[in-house]
């Protein structure tokens, strides 16, 4: 895929959105004294990747963005799987 500035901006927004959702879920889990093991590595990865796209997207080529997008979709699926665990539905509206 060819990644123009609009697509890169959209990808960055997707990364930020998912990272925020993960942070929100993590802080909820900490408040409820629930385990966060399943989240941490993914959250750190998303933080680092989001920061990299935000601060240095010119360093990436199309193939890199393809890879990041594929990782993002995996992370999204995993987040949706994690967030359903142990958290009552009314605590996780996002």
């Amino acid at each position: 895929m060819t990644w123009d500035t609009v697509k890169i901006h959209d990808l960055l927004t997707d990364f930020k959105t998912l990272t925020v959702k993960m942070a929100w879920a993590l802080s909820r889990r900490l408040s409820l004294a629930q385990p966060i093991d399943g989240y941490l590595d993914d959250f750190y990865f998303m933080c680092n990747a989001t920061f990299a796209i935000e601060e240095g997207s010119s360093n990436f080529e199309d193939v890199d963005f393809d890879y990041l997008y594929s990782i993002y979709t995996k992370m999204l699926v995993r987040h949706n799987r994690y967030k359903g665990l142990n958290i009552p539905a009314h605590h996780d509206a996002h």
Partner: protein, 197 residues
């Protein structure tokens, strides 16, 4: 043409930089702002709206003249620094010295070439929290290493970054929940406020 602004908080919270990223059709021409009082800056914080208010006014304070290529100066990366002592809600000043950490919505208005323009920016101002978190990680007892505590300290720093992005996205609820968690965490480790104490 659409007005486009960018905001960047100073690392010591004493002000924020206002950038003008607008693509001014035909180039910026200050004479097209026929009523300089239409240039207005508003800052919404903690449920209140503060307006940039000085005797001379925003247009004059920004120094806008015929040499400017945008609202902020003669270069693409020119900026205007806004300090909290110039922002008033009625007679109430936002703050005399620093921007308290929190969620801000900053809006700039101007009527240019007879067209009313505006742009706003969501911002998480977290300078003090970042300064406090920079004390992490706390001293580690390598002989009695606490893995759980260590990873929580690194998590705190990552949560701060996520809070900044939450504000970028206008997700105020998440911003407030995450920053509350960060503050609880810092308080529990006796990392005190630096300038707001």
């Amino acid at each position: 043409m659409a007005l486009v602004i960018e905001i960047m908080e100073n690392t010591d919270a004493t002000g924020f930089k206002l950038y003008d990223l607008t693509l001014w059709a035909g180039g910026f021409d200050n004479t097209k702002i026929t009523d300089t009082s239409t240039l207005v800056l508003e800052v919404e914080y903690d449920g209140d709206t503060y307006t940039y208010t000085t005797p001379t006014g925003l247009y004059t304070d920004m120094g806008i003249n015929g040499t400017y290529i945008n609202l902020c100066g003669t270069a693409l990366n020119s900026y205007f620094t806004v300090t909290p002592d110039k922002l008033y809600n009625g007679t109430t000043q936002l703050n005399s010295a620093y921007f308290p950490d929190g969620y801000y919505e900053i809006t700039l208005y101007v009527t240019y070439d007879a067209v009313a323009e505006e742009d706003y920016s969501h911002q998480g101002f977290l300078a003090e929290n970042y300064m406090m978190a920079s004390k992490l990680p706390l001293t580690i007892d390598i002989d009695n290493f606490d893995y759980e505590e260590n990873r929580l300290q690194f998590l705190c720093i990552a949560l701060l970054r996520a809070a900044t992005w939450a504000a970028d996205l206008g997700r105020q609820t998440e911003f407030e929940e995450i920053t509350t968690k960060v503050n609880d965490f810092l308080d529990a480790r006796s990392i005190n406020e630096i300038w707001s104490a």
